[in-house]
C-alpha cells in the first residue's frame, strides 16, 4: 500500500487539472482512500511536486527484426551510449536503438510505463515478442502490418469482406498483436517489382486493388471487430516533397471512420517532388481539425543521430541512395517488407531544419491536445530519450525561439514557427504524453489515475526547466511498485504484453491453410504464437 500525498495532480481523463490531491495504491491498482489503512501505507510526500499517470507512447520502434537490424548494422551507435551492469541490473548499449533491457530502463527512468511497438510483420512477430520479453518494467504491445498482405488484398479484390475480417482476427490472434498497422498500402508490394504507389488510385500489381480500397477495408474491419485501437496508418509518399496533398486526401478518404495517422511530420511537406520541401503544416493541421475521427502523432525531429526503420521499404531505398548511407532491406513473403538506414539530423541541413520546424508547427497548430500525441517515431526522427526536450520546446516559448535561432537560414525563412505563441500547459502535456495516447489505444486502465486504473504513476519535481523536469522524475511507480527514485532505477520487474484476440469464424482456417501451402515457407501449424510464449501478458477484450 502506498499513498502519494499532497501532490499537484494532473489527470486529464478525469478532469483533474492541477488540484492538490492524494493518490492511494493497493495491489497494483489505484484505489479510494477508504480501501487503505493509512497507518500501514507507505507515504510518499509529493508536496510541491507534479503527479501524472505513467507515460504512454503509442508509436515507437523498440523491438523485432528492424530494430535489431539497426543495432547490428551500427556498432557506432551502440558505442554512443553504454550502461554498465550494476548489481541486479543488466548492462546495455545503444543511443538511437538501445539494447532491450536498456530500452526498458530508459523509458522507466523517463516516467513512461506503456509503449506500443509500432510495427511488426506477423511472420516475424515471434522475434518481436522474444525481444519484448527482454524489455523489463514497461507494458507493451505490437501493431501488426497488414497493408500489403496478400490474403487481405485478394479478399478485397474478390469482394469477400467477411473473409478478410475473419482473417484479420485470426492474424491478430496468431501474432499476438494489439492492432492493425498499415504502411504505404500497396506500395510495399509494388516495391517487390521495383515500383511504388503514388496516389490512392494506383493499382497494386497482381491484385487489382488500390491503396484507397485497402485503407477503407481495414478501417471497416477494425470497426466490425471492435478492436480497441483504430487502424494505425503510415500513408503514401512518406518523406517526399509535396506529400501533404496526398496526406490530406488520405485523411478525408476515411469518411468519418476512426483512424490514427502516425508521424505526420514526415507527411506534411509542400513543394514539388524532388525539390526543397516547404512546410504544409497549416494545411495538414486544418485537415486534422476538420476531421474529428482522426488522431495523429507527430514524429518530431531531434537534431543528432537517428536510425530510420520502417516497413516502407521503397522509402528506405530512395533515402539511402539520396544520402549515400548504408542500406538494409528485407522483403517478407506474402506480407510486407522493411528497411533500415542510419541518418544524422543536422541544423546546418536546410531540409532537416525544415522538418524540425514542421513538427513543432503541427504540435502548435492542432488545437485539440486529445488528437495529437508526442512521438519522435523513435528512432526514425530521433530517440525517445529526447521527449523531455520536445516538451520544453512546447511549454517554453522563449526556449523555442532560442532553438529556432540555431536552425538553417533557409528553413527559418519558410517557417511560421515564430508566429506561433502557444505554450502547452502541464495539463496539455499530460494529455499528449499519457491520457490521449492511452485513450486512443483503448487502454481503459492506463493514462489516468481514477479508481481501478493500473497504478502506473510518475511524480515530477516541479522545475522551471521542463526538459530537466521530465527527464528525471522523482518517483516512478509501475503496477504499484516504486521502480525509479530521483531519476534512478531501483527495481526491475517484468512488464506485460498487451494483445487482442477477437473472435472469428473458425471455417476461415481452411482457406488460410491453403494460402499457407501455396505461399509460405513456414507451415500453417507452426505460424501462430502460443500465449505461453510471449511471457507475462494481458488479453484485452474487444467490445
Amino acid at each position: 500500500m502506498i499513498g502519494i500525498i499532497g501532490g499537484r495532480v494532473f489527470d486529464p481523463m478525469n478532469g483533474i487539472n492541477g488540484t492538490i490531491q492524494d493518490i492511494w495504491i493497493k495491489g497494483g491498482k489505484i484505489v479510494s482512500q477508504e480501501e487503505v489503512d493509512p497507518q500501514k501505507a507507505r507515504r510518499i510526500d509529493a508536496s510541491g511536486q507534479v503527479v501524472m499517470p505513467g507515460g504512454v507512447d503509442l508509436h515507437s520502434h523498440i523491438s523485432g527484426a528492424k530494430a535489431n537490424a539497426g543495432r547490428k548494422l551500427c556498432p557506432e551507435d551502440s558505442r554512443r551510449l553504454i550502461r554498465a551492469r550494476t548489481g541486479f541490473f543488466r548492462s546495455g548499449s545503444g543511443y538511437t536503438v538501445p539494447s532491450t533491457h536498456l530500452t526498458g530502463y530508459l523509458y522507466a527512468e523517463m516516467g513512461y510505463t506503456t509503449v506500443m511497438e509500432a510495427a511488426s510483420a506477423p511472420l516475424v512477430a515471434r522475434h518481436t515478442h522474444e525481444e519484448l520479453q527482454d524489455i523489463p518494467i514497461i507494458d507493451k504491445g505490437v501493431l501488426i502490418t497488414m497493408g500489403n498482405n496478400h490474403f487481405i488484398m485478394k479478399c478485397i479484390q474478390n469482394g469477400e469482406m467477411e473473409k478478410a475480417r475473419d482473417y484479420v482476427a485470426w492474424l491478430l490472434e496468431a501474432s499476438k498483436g494489439f492492432g492493425i498497422k498499415i504502411v504505404n498500402p500497396g506500395g510495399v508490394e509494388n516495391w517487390k517489382y521495383g515500383k511504388n504507389v503514388q496516389n490512392l488510385e494506383d493499382e497494386v500489381i497482381g491484385f487489382g486493388v488500390t491503396p484507397r480500397r485497402i485503407l477503407s477495408a481495414l478501417a471497416r474491419i477494425r470497426e466490425e471487430l471492435k478492436l480497441p485501437h483504430p487502424p494505425h496508418i503510415h500513408g503514401l509518399s512518406l518523406g517526399r516533397s509535396g506529400n501533404a496533398d496526398i496526406t490530406v486526401e488520405t485523411i478525408k478518404s476515411m469518411e468519418g471512420i476512426d483512424a490514427h495517422f502516425c508521424h505526420i511530420q514526415f507527411m506534411s511537406y509542400g513543394g514539388k517532388p524532388g525539390e526543397f520541401p516547404k512546410s504544409a503544416a497549416v494545411k495538414v493541421a486544418q485537415a486534422v481539425t476538420e476531421n474529428p475521427h482522426i488522431t495523429v502523432d507527430v514524429g518530431q525531429v531531434l537534431f543528432g543521430p537517428a536510425t530510420t526503420m520502417t516497413s516502407d521499404a521503397p522509402f528506405e531505398f530512395s533515402l539511402s541512395r539520396k544520402i549515400g548511407a548504408k542500406w538494409v532491406n528485407n522483403d517478407l513473403e506474402s506480407e510486407s517488407g522493411g528497411g533500415v538506414v542510419p541518418l544524422t539530423y543536422k541544423r546546418n541541413d536546410p531540409v532537416h531544419s525544415t522538418m524540425w520546424s514542421i513538427g513543432l508547427e503541427l504540435f502548435l497548430l492542432i488545437e485539440d491536445p486529445w488528437r495529437v500525441y508526442l512521438t519522435t517515431d523513435h528512432p526514425n526522427a530521433g530517440p525517445f530519450s529526447g521527449y523531455p526536450e520536445v516538451i520544453r520546446m512546447l511549454m517554453d516559448r522563449d526556449f523555442r525561439a532560442q532553438e529556432f535561432e540555431k536552425i538553417h537560414k533557409k528553413a527559418m525563412k519558410n517557417s511560421i514557427l515564430p508566429e506561433l505563441n502557444r505554450e502547452y500547459t502541464l495539463n496539455e502535456i499530460a494529455i499528449i504524453t499519457r491520457a490521449g495516447p492511452a485513450k486512443r489505444l483503448g487502454l481503459k486502465n492506463k493514462g489516468h489515475l481514477g479508481v481501478g486504473a493500473d497504478a502506473d504513476i510518475t511524480v515530477y519535481a516541479n522545475l522551471e526547466n521542463k526538459a530537466e523536469m521530465f527527464a528525471h522524475p522523482a518517483w516512478v511507480i509501475k503496477d504499484g511498485e516504486v521502480v525509479v527514485r530521483d531519476g534512478k532505477l531501483i527495481r526491475e520487474q517484468l512488464g506485460r504484453t498487451l494483445y487482442v484476440s477477437p473472435s472469428y469464424e473458425k471455417a476461415i482456417e481452411k482457406d488460410i491453410r491453403a494460402h499457407f501451402d501455396n505461399s509460405y515457407t513456414v507451415s500453417f501449424e507452426n505460424y501462430p504464437i502460443a500465449p505461453e510464449h510471449i511471457g507475462p501478458s494481458e488479453k484485452l477484450t474487444c467490445d
Binding site: K72, A84, G92, S93, L123, R126, D134, S320, W327, E333
Partner: protein
C-alpha cells in the same frame, strides 16, 4: 505403439525445414519423413536417455556437475562462452545473461563461418528477402562459394532452384541458376552456368561486376574468367526480375573475407537501381542466425562481445573466440551446443585443451575429449521445444516429439547462474 508428429522442425541446418513427420516409438525415433540425409542423421542418432554428467571423466550427480561448472567460471579472470549455434534462442538469452553477470566474453560459431558477413554488413548494409520471396519471385539465382546440394540439401526444393511459387509456377524452368566457385561442386553440376574462378579472386570478380554495372568497361580476364563471361553475368543480373545471390564460406573465409562480403552486398544494393536484387548468407547451423539476433538485442552487437569492463564491448579480431584462444587471453571456456575442437585452427584448439572447459551439448563430440565438465543436455527440436532463427532470420518454433528426461541448456544455464551468484 508408435506415434507420428507432423510439422516438426529440423534444426540441423539453417534451412530449418518445418515439415518433417517424425515417427517415435519408446523414446526412439524410427523415421523422419522428408528430412534430408543430414537431418535424418540428427534425428536417428540422438539418444535421449538420461546420461550422467561427467567431471574429470567421472560420473557425478547433477548438483556436483553444476557446482564444478560454476566453480570454473567464477574462478576464471577471463571466461569465454562459445558456440550457441545449435541451441534455442531461449537458452541463448540465458547465455548472454550469464556472460553479463560473469564479465565474460561471448561469441558464437560465426567466428569460423559468417562473422565476416557481419563485418561486411556493418560496412555497407545488405538487401535481403525471406526464402518465401525467393520461392515466389526469384528468376535468377546465384550460388557463390556455397554448395547447398551437400550442405543445405533441401534448399533447392523448398526455397530456391526447384521450388514453385506464384511468379515461378514451373519451378526450375522459370529460373536461371548460376554457380560461382573455385571447383566444380555438386551444386555447380546442376547450374545453367558454372563460372569457375581462380582461388582467392572473389574480390576482383565482384569488383569487376560492380565496375561494369557502373558503366566502366573491362576487356581482360578477371579471376580466370574471360571478360565476355563477366559481362554476360552482369547483363543477366541487370535484366532479371528478382535476383538473389546466396553466398557461403567460399566467400567469407577466403582472402578478403569481410571485404568480399561488403562487395557482394554493395553489388546487390546497386543492382536495385535496375531491378530487385539481394545478397544473402547461407547460414550453416540451425540457430546460428538466432545467436546473432539474441546477442545483438541483449548487448547491441552480434558476436565477439566482451562484458569484462562491465558493459558490452564489440571486438572483431579482439574478442572473436578463435583469436582470444590463439592469443591465450581466456582462462576458462563454456562451450554450448557446438564443437570447437572439430573446427578451430590448431593454435586455438591447443589453448582450449589447456584451460578448464565445460561442454553443454546433447551429443558427444570432439570437444568432449578436452572438456573437464560435461553436461549432456536435451536436444532442442527433439526432446525440448524452443525457438530458432532460419538463415533468413525468420523465427521458427522447434517442437519436441517426446517427454524429456534430460535438463535443457536453458535450465542448466539458470542453475549455473544461481550457483555463480553464491
Amino acid at each position: 505403439m508408435s506415434a507420428v508428429f507432423e510439422n516438426v522442425t529440423c534444426k540441423f541446418c539453417g534451412c530449418l525445414c518445418d515439415d518433417i513427420a517424425v515417427e517415435v516409438e519408446d523414446r526412439r525415433i524410427l523415421k523422419a519423413k522428408r528430412a534430408c540425409p543430414n537431418g535424418l542423421g540428427m534425428f536417428l542418432n540422438y539418444d535421449p536417455t538420461l546420461q550422467s554428467p561427467l567431471v574429470e571423466g567421472k560420473e557425478v550427480e547433477w548438483d556436483e556437475a553444476v557446482s564444478a561448472a560454476a566453480d570454473i567460471l567464477s574462478r576464471a579472470d577471463s571466461p569465454l562462452i562459445y558456440g550457441l549455434s545449435s541451441t534455442s534462442s531461449e537458452a541463448q538469452r540465458k547465455a548472454v545473461e550469464l556472460a553479463d553477470r560473469l564479465g565474460a566474453i561471448i561469441d558464437s560459431t560465426s567466428s569460423v563461418c559468417h562473422f565476416p558477413t557481419t563485418l561486411g554488413f556493418q560496412m555497407v548494409g545488405g538487401a535481403a528477402c525471406t526464402l518465401g520471396e525467393v520461392k515466389a519471385r526469384a528468376d535468377l539465382l546465384i550460388f557463390w562459394g556455397c554448395n547447398p546440394m551437400e550442405a543445405h540439401m533441401r534448399h533447392f526444393t523448398r526455397y530456391s532452384a526447384n521450388a514453385k511459387g506464384f511468379l515461378t509456377p514451373n519451378g526450375r524452368r522459370d529460373r536461371t541458376v548460376v554457380v560461382v566457385d573455385v571447383r566444380p561442386t555438386k551444386t555447380a553440376k546442376t547450374a545453367d552456368r558454372f563460372l569457375q574462378i581462380e582461388p582467392g579472386t572473389d574480390y576482383e570478380v565482384l569488383t569487376s561486376l560492380r565496375a561494369l554495372i557502373k558503366g566502366k568497361d573491362i576487356n581482360e580476364p578477371v579471376g580466370g574468367l574471360p571478360s565476355e563471361q563477366i559481362k554476360e553475368l552482369v547483363q543477366m543480373m541487370k535484366t532479371c526480375r528478382y535476383g538473389v545471390a546466396f553466398f557461403g564460406m567460399g566467400l567469407t573465409m577466403t582472402a578478403g573475407r569481410g571485404y568480399n562480403v561488403a562487395e557482394i552486398f554493395a553489388l546487390g544494393a546497386e543492382l536495385n537501381q535496375y531491378t530487385r536484387f539481394f545478397a544473402m548468407p547461407m547460414r550453416g547451423h540451425g540457430n546460428v542466425a538466432g545467436a546473432d539476433q539474441v546477442i545483438t538485442w541483449l548487448s547491441g552487437y552480434p558476436a565477439a562481445v566482451s562484458f569484462a569492463r562491465g558493459y558490452p564491448q564489440f571486438g572483431p579480431g579482439e574478442f572473436t573466440s578463435v583469436d582470444v584462444l590463439a592469443r591465450r587471453e581466456t582462462d576458462a571456456a563454456l562451450i554450448i551446443a557446438s564443437d570447437p575442437m572439430a573446427h578451430f585452427p590448431r593454435k586455438a584448439a591447443e589453448h582450449l585443451e589447456r584451460i578448464p572447459a565445460i561442454l553443454m551439448a546433447p551429443v558427444t563430440n570432439c570437444s568432449s575429449q578436452v572438456a573437464n565438465v560435461i553436461l549432456p543436455t536435451a536436444c532442442y527440436g527433439i526432446d525440448a521445444p524452443g525457438t530458432a532463427y532460419r538463415m533468413d532470420n525468420v523465427p521458427i518454433r522447434l517442437r519436441s516429439v517426446m517427454q524429456k528426461v534430460r535438463p535443457t541448456d536453458e535450465e542448466m544455464l539458470m542453475r549455473i547462474m544461481e550457483a555463480v551468484k553464491q
